[in-house]
């Protein structure tokens, strides 16, 4: 049987159950005695709740319970306020509703239909308040406040400790980064560029909606099955809300039908637990597609970027203001603002910086983590402006990036040293793939007014740097069974990225056993040890390393048994190909275990713990345990009459450190790029006075197979990280980030118009071309 290995593609462990329809996702599951929960949501963007009457609803046959703010406030066993950073959320709205779709009440009934019927019969009297519709309005002094005051927990995430809301304003967070002397930097620049870039709120649109089954036993034991990417965070939050020790809360996570950041932190779990508690039976809540739009979005942003450069293209200074629309609740918005701020300099050496990154409350559904996490927003501005600068200075956009881009050993904006920096390699790869050196400049050809202008092609590229959440913790445990098969306990959630298989490959490689002998157990917080989260593209590095350490722990235990039982000196015991090599002979693991336990039975338990800290092993500040570097290049074809364009080719290169499962890496790269196409070309959540116009998949348009370029070229670059398992870093988010600016840059190359607002719709190109025709 083939031994497990890394750097080689193995068939994924979850594939067979998924292609046969056997894999169980949350909405496929039920537990005995389960009833159904539905949520009543606010029809208004901002209103005080004057009165709620549930009498009619309770009369519907089959209705078991209704939850309103009274239940939340009057139950001493419930702490009403929670949230990942600030405690500004409640299970259902308490004094007022803050966005269309804000939960106001919930019903549990024997049949889902009865619950729906009951929702219609809950009478809520609202007193409408002026709604804060956008960031501009939110920042007006003396205007309406979304939150009159915000509760701040005593302890929270270490990396967010300094971020606090500004009293009396709608500013949820203000992150500042200053470096050098900004005025001096501009004074020393030959040219100054100032541009404003914008992008709308978008949605993750995983095909599986949020869902939860909750059960509360007499005595307070809470069990939830949840579609969550971070079961341990949800466990902690539920323990805090329902005032029980963490050990009393069990969170089980099946396979997720996609996450992309939209399933981190509590979503429908608290309300489902509340219903379970009140009814005394298990409750299942499954959100509709529309409800997902009211639950979580990606931050819309307005980014003003002012950059000073010398005439030879050296970046000298950057002043930047980023306003992120965080919606009605902070969620993880503060960290998004911080990450956006950190990356406003892009992957470039800029000695003078003044960056102000804000997350701002508005009366819209909450924005939070989205694949790319604040860097999509900043990169849209950074990488678009790089090409504006290149065009003005008549420098090739690739050369401009090479000139200013990070090299190994350079200092990040925080003055920490960057290590394992595959930026130039990524740029070179995408440039090669897209045929950068051969591109022809067609823009000089005049577009005539009469007749049909031929379609025009153009090429553009972009690159980026991103951090991973630091500090963080991942623990893994594994059992070597009596037949030398392995059971791995890891809290990493399998949401399509293939984590299960990669962890098994790492363990199998260390131990020299086959994948078939390895079982990665399901995620259950009662069983697996602590893992912070499956997000931030961190699991290969952190959990992979923990698994590697746990496997090495088992090898060490085997070694000690051999030393003791066979009297062989420690330095004469080695491992190869799943066997223990001694001077005269070799042993199977099973034999050694038999020796240890005196029978065919027994377990060796391996433990691996990874923690990353605010300082690295060199004593330097560590904003990120490792860095993500990536580049993308697009070739487009534009119809100058209509502004419509299509993708001819897209190349994406990501420095993954080491491609542990090459096909898995390429899948992630191409997959992230495709979501990037949607974000760049089609996707936007549209609002009208706080009402969502398109909370459905007909009018919120996703990229289809028919929209794909004939070729997407995913390229894994490998600049190994000293701390990653076998040098591996992270993969999931990087390829998404350069897509939008690469496409915008390609369109500029094709037809000479610069689009600064996402999505890049045909109409915007058309209007810009019309405008261009009008100019002398």
């Amino acid at each position: 049987m083939e031994l497990a290995d890394i750097g080689k593609t193995f068939r994924r462990l979850d594939y067979e159950s998924k292609v046969t329809g056997r894999a169980q996702y949350l909405a496929d599951m039920s537990v005995p005695g389960m009833c159904h929960g539905k949520i009543l949501r606010s029809p208004l963007p901002h209103a005080r709740i004057k009165h709620i009457d549930t009498a009619r609803a309770l009369k519907i046959p089959g209705v078991l319970a209704v939850i309103t703010r009274d239940d939340i406030l009057q139950d001493e066993g419930i702490e009403p306020y929670y949230g990942p950073v600030f405690k500004d959320q409640t299970i259902v709205a308490v004094e007022k509703v803050r966005h269309v779709g804000d939960p106001v009440a919930a019903v549990a009934a024997l049949e889902a239909d009865a619950a729906e019927e009951a929702l219609r019969l809950i009478d809520v009297e609202y007193e409408e308040l002026p709604a804060v519709l956008d960031v501009h309005q939110a920042l007006k002094p003396g205007g309406t406040l979304v939150h009159e005051s915000v509760r701040i927990p005593e302890s929270g995430f270490a990396d967010l400790a300094e971020l606090k809301p500004i009293e009396g304003t709608n500013i949820c967070t203000h992150f500042k980064l200053n470096r050098g002397d900004i005025q001096k930097g501009f004074a020393e620049s030959d040219h100054i560029f100032e541009d404003t870039f914008t992008l709308p709120a978008t949605q993750h649109s995983f095909l599986e909606t949020h869902a939860c089954i909750a059960s509360v036993e007499p005595g307070g034991r809470i069990t939830v099955w949840a579609t969550t990417q971070n079961p341990f965070v949800v466990r902690t939050q539920l323990a805090n809300i329902f005032k029980v020790p963490v050990s009393k809360v069990r969170v089980i996570v099946p396979y997720l039908g996609g996450g992309y950041g939209g399933k981190v932190y509590p979503k429908v779990e608290p309300i489902t637990v509340a219903l379970a508690q009140k009814t005394g039976r298990p409750v299942r809540v499954v959100l509709s597609r529309e409800e997902v739009f009211y639950t979580i979005t990606k931050h819309a942003a307005v980014i003003r970027m002012k950059t000073g450069v010398t005439k030879d293209g050296t970046l000298m200074a950057r002043e930047c203001e980023i306003h992120l629309d965080t919606g009605a609740y902070a969620e993880i918005g503060p960290r998004v603002a911080k990450k956006s701020g950190y990356t406003a300099a892009g992957p470039y050496k800029i000695p003078n910086l003044k960056i102000d990154s804000y997350s701002v409350y508005t009366n819209k559904p909450p924005a939070g983590a989205f694949r790319g996490f604040g860097v999509s927003q900043s990169a849209w501005a950074v990488e678009s402006q790089m090409d504006i600068i290149a065009a003005a200075l008549k420098i090739d956009p690739l050369e401009l990036r090479r000139q200013n881009g990070y090299n190994e050993g350079d200092k990040f904006v925080t003055e920490e040293t960057l290590r394992a920096v595959g930026l130039k390699e990524c740029l070179n790869e995408v440039a090669r793939s897209i045929g950068w050196e051969k591109k022809e400049r067609q823009r000089d050809k005049e577009i005539g007014r009469q007749g049909e202008a031929a379609v025009r092609r153009g090429k553009g590229l972009a690159c980026m740097i991103k951090a991973t959440i630091t500090p963080s913790v991942s623990c893994a445990v594994m059992k070597l069974n009596e037949d030398a098969s392995l059971s791995i306990y890891a809290g990493t959630v399998e949401m399509g990225q293939g984590s299960e298989t990669v962890l098994a490959q790492i363990a199998g490689k260390e131990l020299g056993i086959s994948l078939q002998a390895i079982q990665v157990l399901g995620v259950d917080t009662d069983v697996v040890p602590y893992d912070l989260t499956t997000s931030s593209s961190r699991s290969t590095f952190h959990m992979g390393k923990a698994v590697q350490l746990a496997a090495q722990d088992i090898l060490n235990q085997l070694k000690q048994i051999v030393v003791k039982e066979y009297g062989v000196p420690e330095d004469r015991v080695t491992f190869a190909g799943g066997k223990i090599r001694l001077p005269e002979t070799q042993l199977d693991y099973a034999e050694v275990m038999f020796k240890r336990f005196g029978m065919q039975g027994g377990t060796l338990v391996g433990d691996g713990q990874v923690k990353t800290l605010v300082k690295d092993e060199f004593g330097e500040k560590s904003t990120s345990a490792f860095w993500f570097l990536a580049a993308g290049a697009a070739e487009v074809e534009v119809d100058p009459d209509t502004g419509k364009f299509k993708l001819i080719k897209y190349a994406t290169a990501v420095d993954v450190g080491k491609a542990l499962n090459p096909l898995g890496c390429r899948q992630q790269l191409a997959g992230a790029a495709i979501t990037g196409f949607g974000q760049a070309m089609f996707e936007e959540i549209a609002y009208d006075n706080g009402q969502l116009i398109n909370p459905n998949l007909v009018d919120y348009v996703l990229p289809s197979l028919g929209d794909m370029p004939p070729v997407i070229d995913p390229i894994c670059v490998e600049v190994p990280d000293r701390n990653g398992p076998f040098g591996a870093k992270g993969i999931g988010e990087s390829a998404l980030i350069p897509v939008a600016p690469a496409i915008a840059n390609a369109i500029y190359d094709a037809v000479g118009v610069r689009i600064k607002d996402l999505p890049i719709k045909a109409e915007k190109i058309y209007l810009a071309l019309e405008d261009q025709k009008g100019k002398p």
Binding site: Y15, V19, T20, D28, L207, E208, Q667, L697, G706
Partner: protein, 154 residues
């Protein structure tokens, strides 16, 4: 008021009592416990609920169960025979044509319907047939490769 229908699911005749409003998807998932087809958008766009009705791909979320009386339905659970997987299932695994797996049943059934109709489709024909199945994880390129591989080797 419930109606009694007779339907052949994965080759076996089954009897069901359904209300007129019950969808084919609800009946298959809840009454027959075949949960491979998923609810994604409820509005015929995403394709996660695709089933083959008399060999034709349909959005089961929007077909009334009563309208399937006397019809044949194929779900993902009915694919493959005698413990062997269908070539499409093998190819999807081989080429990495799935990540989270939520869209997979819909894609495989639709691809099967295509190949039953057009055994050697061109790339354009594959794209046209499958353009209405969405994969948010972004496996489109791998899915094309998997289907091409099945047609090449058949």
């Amino acid at each position: 008021m419930k109606k009694s229908i007779l339907i052949k699911i994965n080759g076996t005749e089954r009897h069901a009592d359904v209300e007129p409003r019950t969808t084919l998807l609800e009946m298959v998932r809840e009454q027959f416990n075949l949960t491979g087809a998923k609810l994604g958008c409820d509005i015929q766009v995403c394709g996660a609920c695709t089933l083959l009705l008399d060999g034709k791909p349909v959005s089961a979320c929007s077909v009334l169960a009563v309208d399937t009386d006397g019809c044949e339905v194929l779900t993902i659970e009915g694919l493959g025979q005698n413990n062997a997987l269908h070539p499409l299932q093998e190819a999807f695994m081989e080429f990495g044509a799935l990540q989270c797996g939520y869209c997979t049943s819909g894609f495989i059934l639709t691809a099967k319907a295509l190949l039953d109709e057009v055994p050697q489709p061109t790339d354009e024909q594959i794209r046209d047939y499958l353009a209405g199945n969405f994969c948010r994880c972004g496996c489109y390129q791998e899915i094309m490769q998997a289907i091409r591989n099945v047609t090449k080797t058949s």
